[in-house]
Amino acid sequence: MNTKTRTAWLFLAPMLITLLLVAAWPLARTIWFSFTDANINDPSSAKYVGFDNYFGPYGLFNNPNNSDGFWASDWGIAILNTLKFAFVSVTLETILGMAVALLLNQEFRGRALVRAAVLVPWAIPTIVSAKMWGWMLHDQFGVINHMLVAAGLIDHPIAWTAESRYALWTVVAVDVWKTTPFMALLILAALQVLPRDCYEAARVDGVHPVRLFLKVTLPLIGPALVVAVIFRLLDALRVFDLIYVLTSNNTSTISMSGFVRREMIDNGYIGFGSAASTALFLIIGLATIGSLYLGRVWLAEKKGS
């Protein structure tokens, strides 16, 4: 080992030791717990139970609460809720974020003001936005119900966050409000480094703006867009706090992270909860690898064509 390499590892050591202590070790322990019957009251007396927490009679993938089929069990519902939430909210955020970015990329008076305003939802802590919207969506006194009734769109107030028909989509709407700015800023940053001469030429040739957008802009910002979507998707798959606070974590909207915490901490089944968290970890890992792979294939195709 030469001096340079030794210096490199010396300077890396504090960071690496910290990450091993706070990330790798707890992760390994959690995976280990998932193969035991650990209980929160005394985790040290845990016994090894193999794959019981996953596939045993009361295991995760064996219909944990004896309901009608896997997808009607709490864990099945949590998986479906998380997937629905992640895909719908990220899709909407991408479309709206793109629209806001295109708007902010135009030159007009007061643009700085609009850009500042767009940052406000992003700056607000998730818990605060959950409480704020919880209040605005209040079934009796909420301003949203008030407005909708006044406009004649609904004839009686709706319990947006409590009624299971609406609750998950309400969560999606609030998440879209809060995270669209993040998307918009990332897309805007990509838009602002696009070559101007290309657009000048297109304008002189009289290319239709929609065609210009699809044929020039979209392929050019593609890589940045893919990265932003992957970031958001991974973030959305681990959603917890928004749902926990906005809908009081009832079963109809529970997310996978919410399920893990409920089993592990509220019910005290560390072993079973760890199995669920390990499953979530694997799902997110697969989603990461899958989306990176798709993103790379997609970008390679772009380069090839």
Binding site: F11, A23, T30, V118, A123, I124, T288
Partner: protein, 278 residues
């Protein structure tokens, strides 16, 4: 470029719509925070009899020591930011300025840590925090918070570190500076824009965190602000003090909005440096 009048009108209409939609919920929360009693149920934006009662009660009710919670949050966030910056700068020096075997793999592994879900470490972290005797102490939250602030800080600082001119380092070596001197005396002054943006993002992350704070701290005096807000309650289960909740929300959000607006450009460049590289 000259635009058609209808296009100009549409542009401004859209701009107004986006602005109102972004800002209205916070303005409404602000308005609610000045309302008390039955005025709460009147959805007009301007409170008819504005009062500061909600704000006062936040700091006077002994069962909910909100002032204490703010101090806890500040303490945790400041420690998390300082540690992340210190560890981030030293690591970024190695990753950004020294070419060694396994560098790419290491960067990938660090990025992977920032991707994994917080609950994946929940049980192990619970055990670790109990073992270290930090359960029920706000200070203990520093440990789990490093999981999401550190990888991000290392990544962004590495990107910035790579861009610094090589001549500077060479000149410093000529003058007999060791790596530590190079980092603190030569690079640090040049890195400050990156430090501001990563520091702010780490601060915001730690300030807003909910899951770990909810799980590892049950003592009422040790709570941090997000959990505190989620637990503000009234005399009965059905009597939710919305005015007070909104007052607390305004207090914890205003400084964030202020910082984000002041450092707009820095934050955006930090976010994009972290994302575009990945």
């Amino acid at each position: 470029m000259r635009r058609a009048p209808w296009a100009v009108a549409a542009l401004y209409a859209l701009a107004v719509l986006v602005t109102v939609f972004s800002v209205y919920p916070f303005v409404y929360a602000l308005s609610t925070s000045f309302k008390t009693g039955t005025a709460l149920f009147d959805p007009t934006l301007w409170p008819s009899a504005p009062s500061l009662d909600n704000y006062v009660s936040l700091f006077t009710v002994a069962e909910q020591p909100f002032g204490r919670h703010i101090l806890n949050s500040i303490m945790v966030s400041v420690i998390v930011v300082s540690l992340s910056i210190f560890l981030g700068v030293t690591a970024a020096y190695a990753l950004g300025r020294i070419d060694f075997k396994g560098r790419g793999l290491l960067l990938g592994a660090i990025l992977a840590v920032s991707m994994f879900p917080a609950v994946a470490v929940l049980a192990g972290m619970y055990e670790l925090i109990r073992f270290l005797g930090l359960y029920n102490h706000a200070l203990g939250l520093v440990l789990p918070y490093m999981i999401f602030t550190l990888p991000f800080t290392v990544w962004v600082l590495t990107t910035f570190m790579e861009q610094l001119p090589k001549e500077l380092e060479e000149a410093a070596i000529m003058d007999g500076c060791g790596p530590a001197r190079i980092i603190w005396d030569v690079f640090m002054p040049l890195l400050w824009p990156a430090l501001v943006s990563t520091g702010l993002l780490a601060f915001i992350g730690a300030w807003n965190e909910f899951l770990f704070a909810l799980t590892f701290v049950l003592d009422n005096n040790e709570r941090t602000v997000p959990v505190s807000i989620s637990l503000i309650s009234g005399a009965s289960k059905y009597d939710i003090p919305w005015g007070k909740i909104m007052a607390a929300s305004v207090i914890v959000t205003l400084p964030l909005i202020g910082m984000v607006l002041v450092f707009q450009r820095k934050i955006v460049s930090g976010l994009t440096a972290g994302a575009v590289k990945g």
